[in-house]
């Protein structure tokens, strides 16, 4: 049976997230230049920017979490807080996509159904991710409590 070594997996995931973050930074910085000629997207850019920053923050929180995987100590209260924080950020992103949707419909009066569907999908997706992360944080909290109890049973 193929068994994943947790520390090696932690190292690999850390590298993947690090590469992702390195690629994401120029994308976020380059957004104004990419959308320079599209005046309809200026309002949306105000939403895309904080969303990009939030996404980077989520990636960074995961990067820190994989650090604990590398150290083979995943059941810590720090990880519970990190998951909770990423969950909150995900809710925030969902709200920002809804705001973007509002701007697109009521301010810009955009009738492109594709954009609207994508934004609805994104807001639902990030809300779902937020719920999943929040649930995972509660599960990890319970597991951490059990582990602590087990460690302190003499």
């Amino acid at each position: 049976m193929f068994i994943i070594e947790i520390d090696k997996m932690g190292k690999l995931l850390k590298k993947i997230v690090w590469i992702g973050m390195l690629l994401a930074i120029p994308c976020i910085v380059g957004i104004p230049f990419i959308l320079k000629h599209n005046s309809n997207m200026i309002y949306s850019m105000l939403i895309v920017y904080p969303n990009g920053c939030m996404m980077l923050k989520i990636a960074y929180e995961f990067y820190k979490m994989f650090d604990s995987l590398e150290k083979k100590q995943p059941f810590t209260i720090q990880n519970v807080n990190l998951l909770r924080k990423t969950g909150c950020l995900s809710y925030g992103m969902s709200v920002l996509w809804i705001i973007d949707l509002g701007i697109l419909i009521f301010l810009i009066k955009n009738t492109y159904i594709d954009y609207i569907i994508i934004l609805i999908f994104l807001s639902i997706l990030f809300f779902g991710v937020g719920i999943a992360l929040w649930t995972l944080s509660l599960l990890l909290q319970q597991a951490t409590e059990y582990k602590e109890e087990n460690d302190l049973t003499i």
Binding site: E148, E149, L152, T153, I154
Partner: protein, 70 residues
């Protein structure tokens, strides 16, 4: 709350932490957790060994004190 009087019993029996941990078969770190009351639970097997080594009853080591409401 449960009070652990292990150090009192150890003093009575004039036994060191190192010796007791060695005889029970637990680490000194775990014995320290037990002595300082940081432990969450104690196994019957550990309690049995402590009683055997210190020649006492569980009641001599563990005591119950009612917690005062703040």
């Amino acid at each position: 709350m449960i009070i652990v009087n292990l150090d009192v019993m150890m003093a009575k029996r004039k036994i060191s932490s190192y010796e007791l941990a060695d005889k029970i078969g637990i680490t000194q770190a775990n014995l320290s957790i037990l002595k300082t009351g940081k432990g969450k639970a104690i196994r019957f097997s550990t309690l049995e060994k402590i009683c055997e080594v210190l020649d006492c009853k569980p009641g001599d080591i563990l005591d119950y004190q009612k917690e005062e409401k703040k």
